[in-house]
C-alpha cells in the first residue's frame, strides 16, 4: 500500500515538475514533507526537506539542457527513509535519513536518462499531431499535447517505489548489523546537510554570492552559539 501511495505522489510530482504548472510543488522542500505525510511520517519528510532542497537548488531546466531528476530522487529518498523506519519500528532519524540519501540519491541520475528517452518518444507525438492535422483531425492534433504527461508520470511512479524498496531493505539490515554506527551516521547527516548548504550557495551564481554565504554562515553561527550559551 505504501508503495502505491509513493508511486502516485512521485508520478504527480514528475508531471508538476515540467509538463504542468511548475509552481515548486515538486521541489524537495514541498515534496519530501508531502511524501512523508502520505506514508504516515510527515516529521521524517520534514527532516529531509531542507537539506534536499538546498542540495538540489541548482537543478534547473535551461532550454534543452536537462538537470538531474530531483523530484524522483526526493520521492525515492523520503519513501526509502520512512519505509525503513517502519521496518525498524521507529520514525525517521538522521541516521536513517543519511543512509536513505546514500542509497537512493543516484536514482536522480537515472531519472535524467529517462527524461532524455521521453523527449525522443514525444517526437512521435509531434509527428502524430502533424499527421492528424494533415488529415483534418484538428481536435486530435491539439489534444495530443496531453499524451506527453503519461510517460514522466509512469517512469517516476515505477522508479521511486523501486529505489525506495532497495533503501527500505538495505537500511534496517545495516543498522541491525552495526548498532554502533548510529552515532557516526548521525554526524554524517549533519556533514551532508552542511554540504547541501554549500551546494545551494554555489547554485546561486552572483559575484557577491560567496561573500554573502560565508559572512552569514559565520555571523549566524556565532550568534547561535552565544544564544545557546546564554540559555
Amino acid at each position: 500500500m505504501g508503495y502505491l501511495v509513493l508511486g502516485l505522489v512521485a508520478g504527480l510530482a514528475a508531471v508538476e515538475r515540467k509538463g504542468f504548472l511548475q509552481g515548486m510543488l515538486s521541489r524537495p522542500i514541498a515534496l519530501a514533507p508531502l511524501a512523508g505525510w502520505a506514508l504516515g511520517d510527515a516529521a521524517g519528510g520534514l527532516l529531509l526537506a531542507p537539506p534536499l532542497e538546498l542540495f538540489w537548488l541548482g537543478a534547473v531546466n535551461l532550454g534543452a539542457a536537462l538537470p538531474v531528476h530531483e523530484a524522483l530522487g526526493t520521492a525515492a529518498i523520503t519513501g526509502g527513509a520512512v519505509l525503513a523506519g517502519r521496518a525498524l519500528g521507529v520514525p525517521v532519524s538522521p541516521e536513517i535519513a543519511v543512509l536513505a540519501v546514500l542509497v537512493a540519491a543516484p536514482v536522480a541520475l537515472l531519472g535524467r536518462k529517462a527524461d532524455r528517452l521521453v523527449e525522443g518518444w514525444n517526437e512521435r507525438i509531434a509527428l502524430h499531431a502533424e499527421a492528424a492535422l494533415a488529415g483534418h483531425h484538428v481536435r486530435e492534433a491539439v489534444r495530443c499535447n496531453l499524451y506527453g504527461l503519461a510517460a514522466p508520470f509512469a517512469i517516476a511512479a515505477v522508479l521511486a517505489p523501486l529505489a525506495a524498496a532497495v533503501a527500505a531493505a538495505v537500511i534496517p539490515l545495516l543498522l541491525r548489523a552495526a548498532p554502533g554506527a548510529a552515532g557516526p551516521l548521525r554526524v554524517g547527516f549533519f556533514a551532508l546537510a552542511g554540504l547541501a548548504c554549500a551546494a545551494g550557495a554555489k547554485a546561486l551564481r552572483a559575484r557577491a554570492a560567496p561573500r554573502w554565504f560565508f559572512a552569514t554562515f559565520a555571523g549566524c553561527a556565532v550568534a547561535l552559539l552565544v544564544l545557546g550559551r546564554l540559555r
Binding site: L62, G63, A64, A65
Partner: protein
C-alpha cells in the same frame, strides 16, 4: 578579434548568454541578420536580455565590418541565423583568416532537414554550404553549449548520410 561564429535559428538566447559568453570571455556580441536589424521589436528584445556590461550590435549582414571586428581589441561573438547567412557573410568578406571557428548551435527541424545532433537539423543545401566553408579552411563544429563534446565535419557528414 572574432572569437567565434555561432549559427543559431533563435539568435540570442540563454545558452549563449549563460554559457558561451562567460566561457570565451566575450566583450561584445554582433548579430549579423537582416531581419533582426530591420525589426525594432527584435532590437529592443535583444538589448533587453543582456546585462548592461555586454554591448550588442545588430546589423544587416552586408554592413558588418568583419575586418574591423577581427582587428579590434574586443573579443567578439558573431551571431548569424542560418548557413545561408554564413554564405552571405563570406560574400561580404568573412574569411578563415579573420575567424577560424564556426559553431552550429540550434538549427530547428523543418521538412527536408535531417538531424545530425539533438539540436541541429540540416538541409542538403546547408550541408553543401558547410562543406564549402570547411574546404575554405573554417573549423566547423556542432554543439549547443561548450560543455558538450563537439561534433566535427566528418561526423556531421556521416550522421547526415545515415539520417532520416
Amino acid at each position: 578579434m572574432i572569437s567565434l561564429v555561432r549559427v543559431d535559428n533563435r539568435l540570442l538566447h540563454g545558452q549563449i548568454l549563460e554559457t558561451w559568453v562567460p566561457r570565451l570571455g566575450i566583450d561584445q556580441v554582433v548579430v549579423a541578420d537582416d531581419d533582426a536589424a530591420d525589426s525594432e521589436l527584435a532590437k529592443a528584445a535583444m538589448t533587453l536580455c543582456v546585462p548592461p556590461s555586454l554591448p550588442v550590435r545588430i546589423e544587416p549582414i552586408d554592413r558588418v565590418d568583419f575586418g574591423g571586428l577581427a582587428a579590434g581589441r574586443d573579443k567578439v561573438l558573431l551571431l548569424v541565423r542560418d548557413p545561408a547567412g554564413l554564405e552571405r557573410a563570406r560574400a561580404a568578406g568573412l574569411t578563415p583568416a579573420l575567424v577560424r571557428k564556426v559553431n552550429l548551435g540550434n538549427l530547428h527541424f523543418e521538412p527536408g532537414r535531417k538531424q545530425v545532433t539533438p539540436s541541429v537539423f540540416l538541409s542538403a543545401a546547408e550541408l553543401d554550404e558547410l562543406r564549402s566553408l570547411a574546404a575554405q579552411g573554417f573549423e566547423v563544429e556542432a554543439r549547443a553549449i561548450p560543455s558538450e563534446p563537439p561534433t566535427g565535419m566528418a561526423d556531421i557528414e556521416r550522421r547526415y548520410a545515415a539520417g532520416r
